[in-house]
């Protein structure tokens, strides 16, 4: 079997390409996604390959994009809408909360849409191009939320998201776009939504995380093993809503020490959900208080010196892991 090396970004493009090839109902649209290939060039080449009917630009109108996707999904297409940055989706959050989230429950008509949204910081994007808003989307009934960390997952999950009969918010991490590479089989395999994955084994503690922080957690774990001999499990959630309860509980049970790491704000962040769930369900199995490592409740700062302090780092994760393990 031939294998190609792909970045996270290329893998998502490849997933889109497979979906576009496999089903004529799939359409890809958003601001600048056509000939230009999108702000990150993620959709580069798709319009050329599939034509302007399948891959097209829209005006700067997030509510028209998201509401339009709902209408397309209701009437026979499988739309994939791109938000240029997740931040700008907040101008039309009601389309997610009201139209996308409630329509199937109220009418039994499925809304099979996918919303792709680049997230996260670490590149000097400042307060309005670096947000991680998974907690907001995950609070909405009726939508699914996916946030991959690896090219192979990204490719398989975008494909499954497109063919899922529900609205899926597909969060992509900009920091990973060109930084993470993997050898992927040429033969394409979809990846089921909903399953977490242990991407590093260990029994001294577990870091439950997703997106860019999976990589920071893995590095922190490796360094801890090298430096202190501790073995830390890393659980990549991959799907944030509905999340893999069994995997979370199994990881907690196997390690008795739980840390959640994310790049988003702390208060009412996604980590609160996981920590609360673990505390409720397997309280008696925990040997130490669960820990959240997150960004502080601060608008995302621009200057490198500030952003470095803002974003959870390998060093910070290691320190907190040591505290947790040696509690």
């Amino acid at each position: 079997m031939r294998r190609e090396e792909m970045t996270y970004l290329e893998a998502i493009r490849d997933g889109l390409r497979h979906a576009l090839r496999d089903d004529p109902r799939v359409v890809v649209f958003g601001e600048d996604v056509g000939r230009f290939g999108g702000a990150f060039k993620l959709t580069a080449g798709l319009q050329e390959e599939f034509g302007e009917e399948r891959v097209f630009d829209t005006p700067v109108s997030e509510s028209a994009i998201l509401g339009g996707a709902v209408g397309m999904g209701l009437c026979g297409l499988l739309p994939v809408a791109e938000l240029q940055f997740v931040d700008f989706g907040m101008t039309a959050f009601h389309q997610i909360l009201a139209n996308a989230g409630t329509t199937y429950y109220r009418t039994a008509n499925p809304v099979p849409i996918t919303v792709r949204a680049p997230c996260g910081g670490g590149f000097g994007g400042g307060p309005f191009h670096s947000e991680d808003l998974e907690a907001l989307f995950s609070h909405v009934p009726g939508v699914k939320v996916v946030y991959p960390a690896f090219p192979s997952d990204a490719r398989g999950l975008i494909y499954s998201a497109i063919f899922d009969p529900n609205p899926v918010i597909f969060l992509e991490n900009k920091y990973l776009y060109r930084r993470v590479k993997q050898l992927l089989s040429e033969q394409f395999e979809p990846e089921d939504l909903g399953a977490a994955r242990v991407c590093r084994d260990g029994d001294d503690a577990v870091v439950i995380t997703y997106g860019a922080m999976v990589h920071e957690a893995l590095q922190a774990a490796d360094e801890l093993t090298a430096e202190q001999g501790y073995d830390v499990m890393v659980l990549d959630l991959r799907t944030l809503k509905p999340y893999d309860r069994d995997a979370v509980l199994a990881a907690a049970a196997a390690t008795n020490r739980v840390m959640v790491v994310h790049e988003a704000w702390r208060t009412c962040g996604y980590g609160a959900e996981i920590v609360a769930f673990v505390a409720e369900q397997v309280f008696h199995l925990l040997d130490a208080p669960p820990v959240r490592v997150t960004a502080p409740d601060v608008p995302i700062p621009f200057a490198p010196s500030l952003e470095a302090a803002y974003r959870p780092s390998v060093g910070k994760i290691k320190r907190e892991l040591l505290n947790l393990i040696e509690y």
Binding site: G68, V70, M72, G73, L74, G76, T107, P112
Partner: protein
Amino acid sequence: MLLARRTEERLIRLYHQGRIFGGVYAGIGQEAIGAATTLNSRPEDLFSPLIRDMTVHIGRGETVLNIFRQYLGRATGPTGGRDGNVHYGNLSLGVLTMVSHLGAMLPVIVGAVIARRRRGSESIGFAYFGDGASSTGDFHEALNFASVMDVPVVFVLENNQYAYSTPVSRQYRCRNLADRAVGYGMEGYRVDGNDAVGLYLFVQRLSRKIRHEARPVLLECETMRMRGHGEHDDFSYVPKSLLRKFSRRDPIVRAVKTLVEAGVISEEDFSALDGECRQEVDRAYRRALAEPEPDPATLEEGVYAPRGNDLS
């Protein structure tokens, strides 16, 4: 029109008797608009009615029985009691189910028409909304989007003089809302929304044209909300003179007069029809009343569509 009027009259009575949970929002006085548009539509066309558009539902074939089921929150109704009163539709009749957020359905129907046409039908859309909704950002994004994408939707603006308590003088400052059409590069018309026959003829030409040209159009229908915003509202803020003026222009009375004068129907035909409508309303209400409320055990079912659900 008549069936819608009789249905709403009954709903109003039931509300004031405390027999309707939630609220009742009536389109009395505005019936010509839904009637004239649905009568000009084809099976493949799409509709996004809002709160005053019972004639759209009925015009597309929704049953009065389903409407009472909906208002009574019955398990058998179009939303199975999960949503209430005006929030229902029927995709097999081409009718989308509204959300409350004003303007928010406008991009949805634009997308829906895009989808139907990409799938090979000659569908056009009819999107209904009020003078208040015309101030939302979604109105703007949807009209511009439809224009740029060449999507044939009739944006039916029911200008009924009020948005809740707010008169049009505090809602906009253009002369007519139809003046907004030029800003989207589409045609815009302001017409008498209470003249069913005239409107029917107008929409006939219009819908043929846009089906053919695949262009959207803005159709402002001048009308009047003859009741409160909802039945909880005594609408004392509406000048009596305005209500009097429009009650002389009642769309049903006018339509009947025109049709009788033209010899299309007789007064007796009308009375007979009215009797049938009243009977149908009675029957439907009684039947719906006897049907079950949703089982609380089903509360958490059907939040997500199962895999394998037919997506076509």
